[in-house]
Amino acid sequence: MNTPQQPLLNIQGLTKFFGGLCAVKDFSMTLNAGDLAGLIGPNGAGKTTAFNLITGIYHPTQGEIDFNGESMVGLEPFEITRKGIGRTFQNIRLFPNLTVLDNVCVSYHPHAGYNLVDSILRNHRYGAREKELVERAQDFLAIFKLEGIQNEQAKNLPYGEQRRVEIARALACNPRLLLLDEPAAGMNPREIVDLMEMIHFIRDRFGLTILLIEHQMRFVMGICEKLTVMDFGEVIARGTPKEIQDDPRVVEAYLGKGAAHVS
């Protein structure tokens, strides 16, 4: 475990240019272990780009990302994941033709405990470890109330279940930091309440640090302990939900000027 004074995630001066376009500009953020933080901002503000930079899908033009005291810059996405950063995607990216169980099992691959030779020979080790792996995955699905649909193809699930599978899959990577990209998109209020409970639950149960992007203010304000607001690739405010709500810049950027008099 990292010492309290050392943040789990420390991002400094992160900048990303696409061609001439600056998608993320001098983005900084620190997360301590156990934080439940939110990243908000209008569409196109650069939030997802920031996620992609943290997870290595894009390589930053400038800046540093330290996770657990180690630099993540230049690492391949799969290496970053193996170091302990899991994520979900804005527009659900499950493996549509695989079953729910297999979707989760894929994440266990680095910890499968048996290698290629074992699987080809189907030896004892394969049998034992594969069984263990599947059982672990099944336990996991049970936590998310997905055990009944474990043999369904992911593409045949309704939206809400797909979201849950995606979160389960990300958690199966055994991350310390979980990045959730719009987990509540397309959910109805009831599902959102469930989701909020679930996020609290997984954070406590797995000892996670969570960073999420979300548009549903109800959700964000209700769940996050600290917030960072982005607009045009830049951080314009940070603080607790209460502070953010009262920040005029945020109100202006997020709701537009017309809203100023409403709230």
Binding site: V106, G148, M198, F201, R205
Partner: protein, 452 residues
């Protein structure tokens, strides 16, 4: 019309045979499994020995088996891993020529082919592991540089292997005899054992070539990868045509075709059956494992796979290597089971190379059953049924064979673009359906979660 009926019955029978074989392989009782496999082998072996199955059927059966292995390999690369490859036929050819040359030299009193490939395969294997470990340590090496290092290592290893082979091959001279008068090692059971080894070596050789080729080329986008691999097939074919001028293999006789390739003869079905079964089992075991899941995950969504901690480059390479291994084994088995001791580059041109692709799309991408069934069905339809049918219709009709074939192809694609069997799997090939599991821990966890 009894010919038509008969050939249709043959198609159905061969599919039933495969179904039975897969069913029996998937049986939970071990003795049923072994007995069933032995029976499946035995039925055909007896039918072949007693000539109930004629040489015509035998030819179709063996060709279908060879193409099954190639197509399975391609399905692993394309159907399961999503890499559109047209290079499979090249690896098939490499396998065929490698094994043919090993065996040809062997029966002609020269062990150097065998030794060179053996040492080559082993040494290159070391090179791959060694350079791989080095690159792992250095990290962040561009693909072309990595390729260059592997290439240098391979060339070095190849040179050492050839040197060693020339040094050691006289040791075998006594046992091998000379051309026309083969010694004890070059005939009978030892020769059959050599076939076994050389088929595996040829497969391994194909796999190593595919590693070297795939390493840089797999970084290309889908269609570009397809064209690059098509280029590979064409380059391999060109080298075959010029094997006696550009390459130093006079016994391959270049474009005129290699004659005198040793044949498995009475053991042919044994080896064909064993290797086909081996390929099916290895591939099935591979797919239904953790690695297999990653292979499919890469097909489904590369970015999501990356985010789940999967090394995309390694996974693609792995599927490509295994696919090529199967192609190489298929080619090697083919070379020794044609029954005509003749191998010609004409078999390995790129146009014929579309066949495995057509087969796997027919059978259904990502379906092993589909591939196996389509391989047999396709050969028995095109080379069996259509040939027999049109042969009956007069002297002009055979010209129509390749007019009817593409029409069938078009209709099938229009009716079932997702392939005949889609994702259906038979018996043994089915993925395990895991029963619901409710452990105490899970219950407790679920309770504590209090999720509605």
């Amino acid at each position: 019309m009894d010919f038509l009926l008969l050939s249709m019955v043959k198609i159905v029978a061969v599919l039933a045979y495969i179904y039975g074989l897969m069913w029996v392989l998937g049986h939970t009782k071990r003795w049923v499994k072994f007995l069933g496999v032995a029976l499946a082998y035995g039925i055909i072996q007896i039918a072949l020995s007693t000539e109930i199955l004629t040489a015509f059927d035998r030819g179709l059966l063996f060709q279908a088996s060879a193409i099954t292995m190639v197509s399975l390999g391609l399905n692993l690369i394309y159907g399961f891993n999503g890499q559109f490859s047209l290079g499979q036929w090249g690896f098939y050819g490499i396998g065929a020529y490698t094994s043919a040359d090993i065996a040809w030299r062997w029966v002609n009193g020269d062990a150097s082919g065998f030794l060179a490939v053996l040492f080559g395969v082993v040494l290159v294997g070391f090179v791959i592991i060694g350079v791989g470990a080095f690159l792992q340590k250095v990290r962040g090496v561009p693909v072309i540089s990595a390729f260059t290092l592997y290439l240098l290592g391979t060339v070095l290893a190849g040179a050492i292997a050839v040197g060693l082979a020339h040094l050691l091959s006289p040791l075998f001279a006594g046992g091998l005899g000379v051309t026309g008068a083969p010694g004890p090692l070059a005939q009978g059971l030892p020769l059959q054992l050599l076939f076994f080894v050389s088929v595996i070596l040829a497969g391994a050789f194909s796999a190593e070539v595919s590693f070297l080729f795939g390493l840089p080329v797999l970084t290309l986008g889908s269609d570009y990868f397809g064209i690059a691999t098509l280029g590979f097939t064409i380059v391999v074919n060109t080298l075959m045509v010029n094997s006696d001028t550009i390459l130093p293999f006079p016994e391959m006789k270049g474009g005129r075709g290699m004659v005198g390739v040793p044949q498995m003869n009475e053991f042919a079905w044994l080896w064909v059956f064993v290797f086909m079964l081996l390929v099916i089992i290895v591939m099935r075991n591979l797919i239904h494992s953790s690695t297999g899941r990653t292979i499919m995950a890469v097909r489904e969504d590369e970015i999501a796979a990356k985010a789940m901690g999967i090394d995309i480059a390694q996974t693609k390479l792995l599927a490509f290597i295994f696919g090529s291994l199967f192609a190489g084994i298929g080619g090697a088995v083919y070379a020794h089971s044609t029954g005509t001791s003749f191998l010609s580059p004409g078999t390995f041109t790129f146009l014929v190379g579309f066949n495995p692709l057509i087969i796997i799309v027919f059978g259904g991408l990502g379906s092993m059953t589909g591939t196996i069934a389509a391989s047999f069905g396709w050969i028995f339809f095109l080379e069996g049924m259509l040939r027999v049918l049109l042969g009956q219709l007069g002297t002009e009709a055979p010209t129509w064979r390749f007019v009817l074939y593409p029409i069938t192809l078009l209709l099938l694609m229009l009716i079932r673009p997702q392939g005949l069997l889609g994702l259906v799997e038979w018996g043994f090939l089915k993925a395990k359906i895991h029963p619901l599991r409710r452990s105490a821990a899970a219950d407790a966890a679920a309770d504590s979660a209090k999720l509605s």
